[in-house]
Point group: C2
């Protein structure tokens, strides 16, 4: 009695992708088994088979977001050497070539909200944040990293709300420049490095 392999190994993945599509376009509250099944083009029973309860399905779907996030966001940041490089990378991540799509931002916002009620998703979000902070702290003081992180989220949020009014690149650049050259607070001796 060896374990059988699924007939359609992509099915599970397809369901997860469909879940994210539904969440992005209709919101988490609309993410039902049935709605996701329709989006994925699979029968209802198929979704309940792969995911015993809806919470698990949704959380798992959110988890797959990380894989898409890391490379796009982190790589340019790690390669940055000068202050100017860092600012360029931040601008690009905010409203440039490496920035998340409006759909992705929607997804993060849905995730934030779901996280307010779901400890598992809240942990996931904090992991995202820590990951981002770790990257930023390679080049910035702890305080600057936190501020940059908060500002980027604020601008993403702005984009989601005003999708017809794109951010002004030079304004974004100036703001990051101001934060990057922000004085170290010199109150937390543990985090010394200001430049890699």
């Amino acid at each position: 009695m060896r374990k059988g392999r699924p007939n359609d190994p992509e099915r599970r993945t397809r369901i997860l992708r469909a879940a994210l599509e539904v969440i992005a376009s209709e919101g988490v509250h609309a993410a039902s088994y049935r709605r996701i099944a329709v989006q994925a083009g699979v029968p209802l029973g198929s979704t309940t088979y792969y995911f015993a309860d809806l919470e698990t399905l949704i959380v798992t779907a959110f988890e797959t977001l990380r894989d898409g996030l890391e490379p796009r966001y982190a790589a340019p940041m790690r390669d940055a050497r000068t202050d100017s490089d860092i600012v360029d990378a931040l601008v690009a991540a905010t409203c440039g070539s490496t920035a998340p799509t409006l759909e992705d931002i929607r997804l993060y916002e849905e995730m934030h909200l779901y996280g307010a009620r779901s400890p598992r998703v809240a942990d996931l979000l904090r992991e995202f944040q820590q990951e981002s902070l770790v990257i930023l702290r390679c080049s910035l003081s702890d305080g600057a990293a936190r501020a940059v992180d908060a500002l980027m989220w604020g601008w993403w949020s702005y984009r989601a709300l005003n999708d017809d009014d794109p951010l002004d690149t030079s304004t974004v650049r100036d703001a990051y420049r101001a934060l990057v050259s922000m004085a170290t607070t010199a109150r937390d001796p543990l985090n010394g490095p200001r430049r890699a």
Copy 2:
């Protein structure tokens, strides 16, 4: 045949307040007629009587948020005269005495998300934002005002996610100081004023 007055004039207000309470603690998706009725201590029919459909109830509830927002947030900002005053006011609005409670932040986040699907709420959010920008532009350049607005939202969001890990006041202060003294971009000649 004169128009009759409601027997309980506070009932409508009580329903709206109950709606916000439910939204803050359970999320918009949980804001049903029945749940709100229970919270308000009124019969189901009472909620459907005052608000023909649920969308109207929720949007109206969100609208009442503005009345509570303006005085707390705007007054200290308008009174600010020096850069230092402005920074103080911003810090206070972020994590100090005039800052929104965690419950209020949750409410704004729910509103953001609901606004992604409801044009009426999206308009309301843009009004909030414009209002905030108008106040900030009394003291700051347009670019700095936008950056400050985005950063504040980012930090509120942070507080909502990490409610046990309060923001470090001096970090917040340093970041605002950096943005407030941010160079004017000199690319938009319409908005000149840097100081009131």
